[in-house]
Symmetry: C2
Amino acid sequence: MLINTMPRYEILSEEDMATLDKGWRRIVSELGIEFLSDEALDLFRRAGQTVEEQVVKLDPEFVLEQVAKAPREFDLQARNPERTVHLGGQHMVFSAVYGCPFVREGIERREATYADFENLVRLSQAFPQLDSPGGTICEPNDKPLDSRHLDMVYALLTLSDKPFMGSVTSGPNALDTIAMAEMVFGRESLEETPAIISLINVNSPLRYDDRMLAALLEYARAGQPCIVTPFLLMGAMSPVSIPATLAQQMAEALAGIALVQLIRPGCPVVFGSFLSNTDMQSGSPSFGTPESAVGLLCTGQIARSFGIPWRSGGGLTASQSVDAQASYEAMMTMVPTMLAGANFVMHSAGWLESGLVSCYEKFIVDVEILRMLQHQFSPLEISEETLAFSAHDEVRHGGHFLGAVHTLERFRECFYRPLLSSTENYERWNRNGGKDAAARASEVWRKTLDEYEQPPLDDGLREQLKQFVDRRRAELGD
Amino acid sequence: MLINTMPRYEILSEEDMATLDKGWRRIVSELGIEFLSDEALDLFRRAGQTVEEQVVKLDPEFVLEQVAKAPREFDLQARNPERTVHLGGQHMVFSAVYGCPFVREGIERREATYADFENLVRLSQAFPQLDSPGGTICEPNDKPLDSRHLDMVYALLTLSDKPFMGSVTSGPNALDTIAMAEMVFGRESLEETPAIISLINVNSPLRYDDRMLAALLEYARAGQPCIVTPFLLMGAMSPVSIPATLAQQMAEALAGIALVQLIRPGCPVVFGSFLSNTDMQSGSPSFGTPESAVGLLCTGQIARSFGIPWRSGGGLTASQSVDAQASYEAMMTMVPTMLAGANFVMHSAGWLESGLVSCYEKFIVDVEILRMLQHQFSPLEISEETLAFSAHDEVRHGGHFLGAVHTLERFRECFYRPLLSSTENYERWNRNGGKDAAARASEVWRKTLDEYEQPPLDDGLREQLKQFVDRRRAELGD
């Protein structure tokens, strides 16, 4: 977990913020937000809001009163207490890619399997730059649909000891996740400090669907945080305007956060952002665009103004392969994520092809990017000691510092040491096979899996989890 | 030319700045700077500075008095007045790669030729994101060594109408450059508004060599700006410490800027920065490192404190091919360059393999990165109009905006439109050959060269330049 003490890069003026504030207020009060859940509608109705069929017209002041009940910061526990993370303030938590039906391994692109799921969780466990494997790191298509959430939670709890993300495909699936977490953490501990964080996407524009709401209700009742995320590809789910989209994002996220507080006041919750744009020529989604970079910078500033931890995407790209586009687009979202200080960063490693693909090689490229940026966004100590005048005094004019005492004392640790990047001269690089970054990344992930060590887990607990999975799978008819 | 009105990202505290200030003062006064030029030594001696053999021990207050004579901002004229640029303030001028002995075209890496030089100047002319082709865009190895500066200046003045960089390999070569510029601009106009900008590297640590000083003397006498650039690969030319390197950079650059002001008070000059680090494992230079990113952010803040326009590198990388590493490293230097608001950006397009290679495909990747970042660092208008409430009112809940009136009125111009990036779905991309960004870049530069149009130039003037080149080549014995 990075504590990012560098300054935040904020580009909105007070006047801009006031204009956006007017924007979300008008949306929630005049157009309202649709909630496809009777329970949610009842909660709003009982709280005095206007419910017209399934649309809730919200009083902005009421929304802000609810939002104010959410904690500014909170802990999310891991089954290894050393890996417990903190959400909010200057803390940044990085998790892996989420939700991809396909995987890419070298030049092979195929349907993802449970073996891929396990491998990607292992990779997430292995790299300290990742604080969490996330949740649906890829879709285990070879497992039965109705019960695969059990397999995923089982892998997340046994192959990793980092915090994990819960199933959100239905209310009962959320309850299964909570039940398994209770076995590991104990009900009381879970109640005291949450251990499951879950992604609730808004069915944008201005609609929450029934399945996501059912999951949100269960998690909120159990005091577990949801990341309430408007899903905004400008041009499709929001207007072709960044300001309009920001206003919509505020309207949707704040309405969902208010609902969480109605279910359980004080429940931790995260302001989510997933904001990019449609390529208006192809109609396909674009990622790593200038628009998404600007959106990220603005979203950080906006979320901070409400005092809620916020989530962004990580190394996003539309590229189909692990090429130059994949990494400049990943940087176009990851750098603003750092500058804006996102508290929870999804898709930090492995995202390819607009999120359709979890890619092994891209995973390693992204880990390298994370390592570099986490290094860059660490404090620079400027002092008499780091001015190192003795080194200048020793070397003087026209010499070199390679053999200076100051250098020899520090050469091992003085600079960032890459995982993937090569500085080999051309002849040597060529002699060694002329491998580009994707080819080298392939070697890195294979070696990392070879060296992976499963974190310790009590055998009885593992068996208990396994029995739960078997029992529930049978009950679900898979 | 971008006017970057976004905020500057500054990470140094006042205390940090005071510590660094102490650092450069101690270096120039206690260790001094070596100048391998009698003329330079005489100028410093006559100005009352202590000269010990070839080392000048400088009074920091004297240095600052000289630096204060340099203009805060100035114009650099192009032979097409519409392409004249402004250096300083919020202005950012982007020029192409500089100084590479090799070129890479697809998978072929070879010695650069004059034909490559011409092609790369044509590409620089073609893309509006580049304000200048720079100077030695690659080394024309097939031209005689002693007179190739004439061929380069000829190509820069005839194939492009953007501002250009002068030859710095010797004093006479600088005079040739000035003579050719006088033919194009007229002596008076050149005197009034400079038209040649030149890169003077320091032979770091703490030494200016004779050839560079000879060129600097000629340009300064002619009122043409030099970019005085400490050449700092930490671990080799400076200590393995960012603060020590920043202090050294200040010492070296300010001493050179002071010299320019002694030669011709008020002569425009640029505070240069070329700061990266050695890979301490391989001994090779590294580029696009976290250290260089931090160095860039600090350098902007430092240069602004002296009121001098400043220069940085652009899309730097150590990568040997146009792969993921090439572009994440390019972004690691280009984004801080934008955040820090560099006034003159060298190596903005085409840099590969630690600057040994001018690469055609990387050129296009870098132009795409420039286009994206220039888009990102443009003001966001937040207003009642851009809130686009009518679009929300039209679409409401759960619909989509693709057919909304607001979208249809704006879909052509609403978002950044890529030059190189692909959002094609996998099936279509695969059907079209499965070309990665490097393969597509190859198509882009070939098409751009095919469509290139030479900017108009008076036939008499062209003949005059040609005759000068022929005469001087004969005089130089080539």
